[in-house]
Subunit: 342 residues, 2 copies
């Protein structure tokens, strides 16, 4: 039993009078306290691999921002590395895979990841749970199969992910093989996170938006389905960033929560996902505005989601140059709101 | 009178038995013939400013690919430069504005562009029209106000355009001032292109996708409306890339054609835009596939648009590493199709 179970109740479909709130990238550069801890690690990957440091920054926003859930500090690229594909994190450019997947042979070389490959994340979760002392739930996470596939075949971030999509169009069989290997790894990974203490898990499909409905139905939905069906212990959140065309197919998956980016109109999501808890979807850039504007838009959002099970969040991660005080304000506004339920 | 008026007829709302086709970036790196001409210019901007070279590459795809329209070779950043904000084109990184807009004073320094500021584009259009000898229509174009605003305030391409969106949220008055100055420039620019011979014009709103419905309705639609109402001489195409949430508002604008990216399901566009000609929307990555797959997906697309006025195209520009033969195949497939009209 947790002292604050608001988020888990909402995730399981309850229309809670008080609305739970957390923020993607709440454990991140927006907090000066995070930046101070970050300096203790040699580099970003070393940081991710240090359970003590990861647990420390995971808990920071709980106290500083007063959010209703912690999310384990880690990176979605843990899984590609655990499968045998190491990456580098370049400060300006983001992640780079020096030996990205270029042939079917490269796919064969990868193995399905198991606990030994990502034990440091499990250690961080256990440490965090210990420090959290059952105050609030801890969110575990993984990249979704397509998003990991995209990084592994493109070798780096991209506007078009044309190399990755070339695989889907020109070699669907090998694409399915790689997606299956990734999916098997993700299922191990999430189950192990749950065993280590994660109370709920989120799948980040950050590059959903470069596909379309047909590609998503063919190369993503079957794998998300396997994951959702394998995870029965805790609620599952899916975040198909920029994937307005994915919602109808996601509605039939065995997941509990769908996280929405800010381009999705709440009323459309409510219609398309009648059985899901919704999460999101403030524009991160709203937090550049003055206090009155933030208040106005946040209340408008809360009212739009008034009638459904709902978790307040942004439609994407916090940008590093957003002021900490504005983030606190966003959390306070959500907490100040009480739903009028008929 | 043009020998081939298929595109203009479709743009004006006719359901043509044969479907007109052209491709965004058809005058570009996908053609070896383009790359040969490109080498004659010192750099990209110098290339854009050479009417003879611009006319030459504009006409290349007409003969090589057998498309039903030419589009003047130029760049959407002609207008910011014409307003007093010079840019550099860096081979790998794309465009950079060294003195991008950072204050209201920077906005005041800009002037509304007139013919003298972009005469080289008008010269290129006149030359192209002469060489085309009325075979097919020539498409003129401009960046849409928001997309130019985005580049001018961000200083370069960006995944989030958070600097640009910060303007909208934190200084809406100054944002409107800059958008109005850009809009006035675009109206001059398109009217001058039409006087010089452009038979139809397209507005590229390449960064529509980082906004949402409310921002688009506030900061984009009013300016697009001014432009659409000012241009009565020729049909107007609007391309709101990744702007699934813009379609309803665009449906009430005085434009003729809406160009769709590949994430939009044709049946949704047909419902939302009942009075518009639709253009698009094949995934550029489809052209990485084998011939059978290209044929299958292209025919599927043509059938989905069977009942409405329609211009075949991609949902975005051609990627430079697509094979020329695949592009020719796409055009041939469209030309081989005859609509069954009841």
């Amino acid at each position: 039993m947790l002292a604050n179970e608001l988020l888990l109740k909402a995730a399981k479909g309850e229309i809670t009078p008080k609305i739970p709130v957390w923020l993607m990238r709440q454990a991140g550069r927006v907090l000066p306290e995070y930046r101070a801890v970050r300096q203790k690690a040699r580099d970003f990957i070393n940081f991710v691999k240090s359970p003590e440091l990861a647990a420390e920054v995971t808990i920071q926003p709980v106290d500083i921002l007063n959010v209703d859930a912690a999310i384990i500090f880690s990176d979605i690229l843990v899984i590609p590395e655990a499968m045998g594909l190491p990456y580098l994190m370049q400060e300006e450019k983001g992640p780079v895979f020096p030996d990205y997947i270029q042939s079917e042979k490269d796919i064969e070389k990868l193995h399905v990841a198991t606990a030994n490959d990502y034990h440091y994340v499990l250690d961080a979760i256990q440490l965090t749970k210990k420090h959290l002392q059952n105050r609030i739930p801890l969110i575990g996470f993984s990249g979704a199969p397509w998003t990991l596939f995209a990084y592994m075949t493109e070798g780096k971030g991209s506007k078009t992910f044309s190399k990755s999509k070339k695989w889907l169009y020109s070699n669907p069989e090998a694409s399915h093989q790689l997606l299956q290997k990734i999916t098997d790894s993700i299922i191990h990974y999430l189950k192990d996170q749950i065993k280590s203490g994660a109370d709920i898990v989120q799948l980040f499909d950050s590059w959903a938006g470069v596909l379309n409905k047909e590609l998503y139905d063919t190369f993503c939905i079957p794998y998300l389905k396997q994951i959702c069906n394998a995870i029965s212990e805790v609620p599952v959140i899916i975040f198909p960033k920029d994937g307005h065309f994915t919602l109808q197919s996601i509605s039939s998956l065995n997941c509990n929560v769908v996280s929405l980016d800010w381009t999705i109109e709440p009323e459309i999501a409510i219609k398309t996902l009648p059985d899901k808890t919704l999460q999101g979807n403030a524009d991160p850039c709203l937090l550049y505005a003055d206090e009155k504007t933030i208040e106005l838009h946040t209340f408008k959002m809360l009212k739009k989601f008034n009638s459904v099970p709902y978790i307040a969040n942004l439609g994407h991660g916090l940008y590093p140059d957003i002021e900490k005080e504005k983030v606190k304000l966003f959390v306070e506004i959500v907490h100040s709101y009480t739903r009028s339920l008929k």
